[in-house]
């Protein structure tokens, strides 16, 4: 079952659940990349998203 989760600046392999790890491995296989690469992509995407939101909030305030 899909499980909602929150990705913060601190997201990394150590704070993902075993289910999340398994899902990440499956997706990495599908994309033909390693789990580490999939993790790195996830972290950089989350950080870019967070930074964009912070910039947006900064403009609004």
């Amino acid at each position: 079952m899909p499980r909602p989760l929150t990705l913060s600046r601190e997201v990394d392999a150590t704070n993902l659940s075993p289910e999340d790890h398994a899902a990440l491995v499956a997706l990495a296989k599908e994309r033909g990349v390693t789990k580490a690469e999939a993790m790195r992509d996830l972290v950089s995407w989350a950080l870019a998203h967070i930074k964009a939101e912070e910039a947006e909030n900064g403009r609004e305030s």
Partner: protein
């Protein structure tokens, strides 16, 4: 601040797409730089237009179609155009002038280094002479038409 996602699958999928897009953009920029490098160096309108057409052909055919006869013939004809132009007497003459100019500049550079390093007697005169030689070499490189006309005759 944090990102809320419905599932790790969704987040990892989107992140994967974003990474792939970034990779493709970088590859695109890399290929454009490779293609435009000689254009920036030589900068002739013919070469710019040739390189642009090369880029268009690559864009028109996705990678999986590049084994097709249409791509091979189109690209072959385009490359042939370049080879013919590159081997033309005009280009060969320009190439020879560029080589001569480079030789003259290298020679001048060595003499300038020598004059500056050792500040020997007559260094000023040496520098003036070198400058005259550079001007002569530049003048020859800038006025090729007469030479070419003679060559043709």
């Amino acid at each position: 601040m944090a990102v809320k996602v419905d599932s790790i699958e969704e987040a990892a999928y989107i992140a994967g797409q974003a990474a792939e897009n970034k990779r493709l953009k970088e590859e695109n920029a890399r290929l454009r730089a490779i293609i435009s490098a000689p254009v920036e160096r030589f900068g002739t309108p013919e070469l710019v237009s040739w390189a642009n057409r090369l880029w268009e052909i690559l864009s028109e055919y996705p990678e999986e179609d590049r084994g097709s006869a249409a791509f091979v013939f189109t690209m072959g004809a385009h490359l042939e155009k370049f080879a013919k132009a590159w081997n033309s007497p005009t280009i060969a003459a320009k190439d020879a002038r560029i080589a001569a100019l480079e030789r003259a500049l290298r020679k001048a550079q060595d003499r300038i280094y020598y004059a500056v390093d050792w500040r020997h007697e007559g260094a000023d005169e040496t520098l003036k002479q070198v400058w005259r030689e550079i001007e002569e070499a530049l003048g020859e490189a800038a006025a090729p038409e007469e030479e070419e006309a003679e060559h043709v005759r």
